[in-house]
Amino acid sequence: MRPDDRFYLPSHEWIKINGDTGIIGITDFAVEELSSGNEGDLVYCDLPETGRQLEDGETFGEIESVKAVADLNTPLAGEVIEVNAAIEEHLEIVAEDPWERGWMVKIKLGNKDTSKLLDAAAYEDLLAKQN
């Protein structure tokens, strides 16, 4: 069962809320789609500048593998306050641990309304239907 301490988008991003901060990353399913479990297959990640304002659902960057590029979308609106510099040269971190060490951006939340997001159970349902 995927972590239930966070919310999900159907496009396989997650957001974990700590007070006024949201931490955003992608799920193991997204990693698998891009790289089929081969860490070496993730080649590039484009993350935003700090200070950038994001709307609900806005595309803030891209992640690229050997065979595909995928948009990165924020589940909730907010201002980018930190970006995970560690993964830039080491994308395998995202493949190894997409839930913790592989986080991508932190935002100061402009919107805390999670009602339109999927919880862990709903995300699992979505994945089950995809298969």
Partner: protein, 365 residues
Amino acid sequence: MKETPLHDLHQSAGAKMVEFGGWHMPVQYGPILEEVRCVRERAGLFDLGHMGRLSVRGADAVRYLDRIATNHVGRIPQGSIRYTLFCREDGNPIDDLLAYRGEDEVYLVVNASNTDAVLAWMEEQRAGFEVEIDDRTPRETMVALQGPAALDVMNTVTEGGEVEGLGYYKFTFATICGRPDTRVSRTGYTGENGFEIYFPNEEAESIWSALLEAGAGAGVRPIGLAARDTLRLEAGMPLYGHEIDEHHNPIEADLGFAISFAEEKGDWIGREALDRVRKDPRRKLVGFTTAGKRVPRQGYDLFRGDQAVGEVCSGAVSPTLDTNIGTGYVPIDLAGPGTALEMDIRGKRQAVELCQLPFYSRTRK
């Protein structure tokens, strides 16, 4: 979605399967870059059951094909194979294909995605010609064994050394994996030495397994479509829908070697249009490398300063060249090797440098 006779074997081997040209095919069994290296260093086995296989017979077979194909079919020696294209009147291709000149038949292997379009076109053009067109695709299948170890492996599964002396772009019929009279060609889509083998669907699993077993010592592995695409790109080979399609003609794609304007061939569909292009080509297919991390992909624009000058057709991470590579069309005057351009990825630019194709050649190292 159609399935090749080897479909279940791929799934058991843990392949990631995707839809391709209407078929459910293995895209990778493991890391793509490792599959590419396996073919370049050892050898790989490819399921090509998705490709179209057609047989053209009848008194007018060659004359008919000379009407619809760009190459001079009448001059293909028996036992030889030629790369060719079927084009429309406007000179743009319906497909690229291989034509095998047999004793009383011309055998054609066409792209999976275009098989239906090719058959429809052939039906449309056959009036007045005494020809029989047999679509063998549902009953016969094919595999490819490609890489430096391919010949050794083929020799162990072929009776009588039939394959040892088989020249490049030639085919014969030999006893392979115990099956007599099996078509085998020295062709491939990787730039490596290799063979393609053709047989009825019922034999597929046993031949595939026999080849993997015979190649086990040499490190032969099954290879998926993703690696296949990288290999053909490294070898400078076009893929329909990328370097050539209904808007990109074979002259500007540098495929002049497959196009004949010889009088003896007679008039053919697309001749006039392609004659005009060859006298006044506007753009050229080029290769390029890029030192940045982004991978070139179809549809990215190519810029020279502020001016959009072309478009990317294909791109890949090349483990053989240890850089990212791509192809694209640029105006003739910008097509020289060394020309510095940029590719645009959603507003962000990455430098590219034009180079000659192919990126990789087995014979020119």
